[in-house]
């Protein structure tokens, strides 16, 4: 793969934990690759499978959904629904041949700036060798 290939990642971050954790990474001046563009949602439970399919369709090379750890959801149980729903999405995407690394989910608390940073670093590292995502992408 070309050295200058930069994967494009959309990250759906829940407002209360993961977006706050990402803020903490900023406040702590941690550094991670700029390949990820965040979209703040209220809760990981609100992330529809359609968002994920759509992101890949519009050209994302990777999609991340991040929410509060189990038991810590600001809305009590939204992340549990997300966990179940997105597990199915992941299995389905793998089944149609999308590389398993392209769709990821994580629990990042408001205190886990380091974890968020590491997740993004790893994600970019894992996506690079795969090259651009073309399977769901319109007009690749």
């Amino acid at each position: 793969m070309a050295e200058d290939y930069e994967p494009r990642i959309v990250a759906f971050l829940c407002k209360w934990c993961s977006s706050a954790g990402s803020d903490l990474a900023g406040v702590s001046r941690m550094e991670y690759p700029p390949n990820v563009v965040p979209i703040q949602v209220m809760c990981s439970g609100s992330v529809s499978p359609l968002y994920i399919f759509s992101a890949f369709n519009k050209g994302a090379d990777g999609v991340l959904v991040s929410g509060c750890h189990p038991g810590d959801c600001h809305y009590i149980k939204g992340n549990y629904y997300a966990r179940r729903r997105l597990n199915l999405v992941k299995k389905l995407l793998e089944y149609v041949g999308l590389e398993t690394q392209r769709f990821q989910m994580s629990w990042v608390s408001a205190a886990e700036g380091t974890k968020f940073t590491q997740i993004i670093k790893d994600f970019v590292k894992e996506l690079k060798p795969l090259g651009p995502q073309t399977k769901l992408r319109r007009n690749p």
Binding site: L50, A55, K58
Partner: protein, 649 residues
């Protein structure tokens, strides 16, 4: 919306150091719905805010995006600025290009590109934002407290003392809860009844508190500030106003049943007063046992001897409806059921007791008038074995959690025993000693040093009766020796469980329970006294095992939270709540099932949103198969465009 303004903050060099803010403004100006884009060194400063206000007025902006720091910091600042210029505050959105961009990247062109995407995505969002006004509802300035134990009493008093009305509902004939059964309390050994009864009296006399004993909550509807409750008042068949407490009725009553207050160590009549200091001070005719279920005839002897004619057999259950603004649930605990501890001979041998029974034996008002005697033969026990963690910390067989107070009360029990029986010996089997708390560790040390209590680290393997003794086999894991004690009495520190009926009540109140059946708090760290439902609060052992000072503290905390609501005329609520696109809704109810706040209901085959209950989490949105439910100002349409913006360019 077609007239969006974009304002890019340099934040000194915090943003401008890594992001080419001019370039971002330039790029954003190309967006078809952006009519104004500018950058400024500190947007949050007064001149910065003025720029925004001025642009809104001059360019008739109908949407504003401020690309700056995290929305947690200045969203309110900029929304207020927008509002001052006559723009609805919900038409202002923040693009976080500092914490989530400039501070975490070094490559300027790439950071600039990313900041552009973040800002564009915010433009897409704001373009479709609706103007919204905060929702507001009036508040019924009255509280309901469920449970008349120490937590409920404390919460009721704290609220009433601020001047708001309180309805206190207790299902037993008297308030007092488990605390009134205790003899002395750790770590100070002051008399439990002596410190509790003044509070009970205060509650009963308080002009702002309506005490409803022998009553149960039947139904709750409504939402924060506006709950409607139905309370079932069970008949006591005795008019407390007329009753003189002469006690003639109990003398003639022929029916004897186990006394709940003494945990079955004594009996009571079918007409009874639970304990002498009961509040309200009155008798109750227990209609489960009178008339005798076998003869089904009420003998009427009590009424015959009642001079003031206080007994009224015609009393009927009453349903009392009330409106309240907040609800505090303080339903307390029960001890782990005896049936479950057959391994320790509990329920099989009369001299194997639980902690509360032992409290009664120690109590001056108890069945033995404060003398510690074996229930089986009324002899003084000379060797007593106390077993901690009886049912606690045993995930395989019993409860996984630690019941928290047992270490302390067992130390107290052993100490009290030694104070009564100076030549006796107390043994305590324990797993760990958990004595965190003010004066607690010293208290345990005192038990060991002053009262010679023998602590044995290990589990008891077998308890059985032999020649009038209760044989206790166990292992001291510190020495590795097996231990055999021929005890006269065994006291089990039973695990604490949520009180019976709490689960049923939780269902009525639509409160969540944790995996052990205790009421779930809204957040384990940050919102420990709030329930998951707005306007409902938790106090005492109903939420988790806790001791008296903790229960009192939580009760006061819950009261303060309750008063914070009651002290307002109206409650305001974020308007970014769910809305239903009715033509698309098929009424399948999937969203209703996932809503954590019971904000959704099915009516005539369509879903309806109770906006006051909705917190706008959007889990319903992702669940709906037909996109028929959307959160205002973060609709799927908006997210779809945001996704597009994040990937474009």
């Amino acid at each position: 919306m077609k007239r969006t303004g974009v304002f890019i903050c340099h934040c000194g060099i915090n943003i401008a150091g890594t992001v080419d803010v001019k370039k971002v403004a330039e790029e954003l100006a190309k967006h078809p719905s952006v009519v104004h884009a500018e950058d400024y060194v500190y947007m949050c400063s007064d001149p910065g805010q003025n720029l925004i206000e001025q642009a809104i007025r001059e360019k008739k902006l109908d949407g504003v995006v401020v690309a700056c720091c995290s929305p947690n910091l200045h969203e309110t600042t900029f929304r207020n600025a927008a509002k001052r210029a006559g723009l609805n505050s919900f038409r202002c959105e923040i693009a976080n290009i500092r914490e989530q961009c400039s501070w975490v990247h070094k490559d300027k062109p790439k950071a600039t590109q990313k900041a552009t995407k973040i800002a564009r995505s915010a433009v897409e969002k704001v373009r479709q934002n609706e103007s919204l006004d905060a929702l507001s509802v009036p508040v019924t300035r009255r509280a309901l407290v469920v449970g008349g134990g120490i937590s409920g009493l404390q919460a009721a008093l704290d609220i009433a003392n601020t001047g708001f009305e309180v309805i206190l509902v207790e299902r037993n004939p008297s308030v007092g809860g488990h605390m009134i059964q205790l003899s002395e309390t750790f770590p100070t050994l002051d008399c439990s009844q002596c410190i509790l009864t003044p509070k009970m009296v205060e509650v009963s006399k308080h002009p702002k508190i309506k005490l409803m004993t022998y009553s149960e909550v039947q139904d709750v509807s409504g939402y924060v500030g506006n709950f409607k409750v139905k309370i079932l008042k069970k008949p006591t068949y005795v008019d407390p106003a007329k009753c003189t407490l002469c006690d003639e009725c109990t003398k003639v009553c022929p029916i004897v049943v186990p006394n709940e207050f003494d945990l079955g160590l004594t009996g009571r009549r079918a007409i009874y007063i639970p304990f002498p200091q009961a509040i309200p001070a009155s008798y109750t005719l227990d209609d489960k046992n009178c008339p005798d279920p076998f003869t089904t005839i009420a003998c009427g002897k009590c009424a015959d001897v009642c001079n003031p004619k206080a007994i009224d057999f015609d009393q009927k259950p009453e349903i009392i409806e009330a409106e309240v603004g907040v609800i505090i649930v303080a339903t307390g605990y029960d001890l782990y059921d005896k049936e479950n501890m057959a391994e320790y001979g509990f329920g099989k041998y009369a001299d194997v007791l639980d902690g509360l029974q032992f409290e009664r034996l120690c109590s001056a008002s108890g069945p033995t008038m404060g003398q510690i005697l074996r229930p089986s033969d009324h002899k003084e026990p000379k060797e007593v074995v106390f077993i901690q963690c009886s049912g606690s910390r045993d995930p395989e067989n019993h409860c996984a959690y630690c019941s928290k107070i047992c270490c302390m009360y067992t130390a107290k029990h052993a100490m009290l025993y030694k104070h009564h029986v100076h030549d006796g010996q107390a043994y305590i089997f324990y797993i760990d000693i958990r004595s965190g708390g003010k004066g607690y560790e010293e208290f345990v040390q005192r038990a060991v040093e002053e009262d010679g209590v023998v602590y044995l680290r290990g589990k008891v393997s077998k308890v059985f009766e032999e020649k009038g003794k209760i044989m206790v086999w166990g292992v001291d894991t510190l020495t590795g020796r097996s231990i055999e004690i021929a005890a006269d009495m065994v006291v089990l520190a039973q695990a604490m469980r949520p009180s019976t009926g709490a689960q049923e009540l939780a269902k009525k109140l639509k409160l969540a329970l944790d995996k052990d059946g205790f009421l779930a708090e809204a957040h384990p760290k940050l919102r420990p006294v709030e329930s998951v439902t707005a306007g409902m609060f938790l106090a005492g052992a109903a939420q988790a095992p806790k001791d008296i000072p903790e229960a009192v503290a939580q009760a006061s905390g819950a009261a303060a939270k309750a008063v914070a609501i009651l002290s307002q005329d109206r409650l305001f609520h974020s308007p970014t709540v769910a809305k239903v696109i009715s033509n698309l809704c098929t009424g399948c109810g999937m969203c209703v099932a996932v809503c954590p706040y019971d904000a959704l209901t099915l009516k005539d085959g369509k879903v309806e949103v109770n906006e006051v209950l909705c917190e706008g989490c959007g889990t319903c949105t992702a669940t709906c198969l037909r996109s028929a439910i959307q959160v205002k100002n973060l609709t799927q349409q908006q997210v779809a465009e945001m996704i597009n913006a994040c990937l474009g360019g």
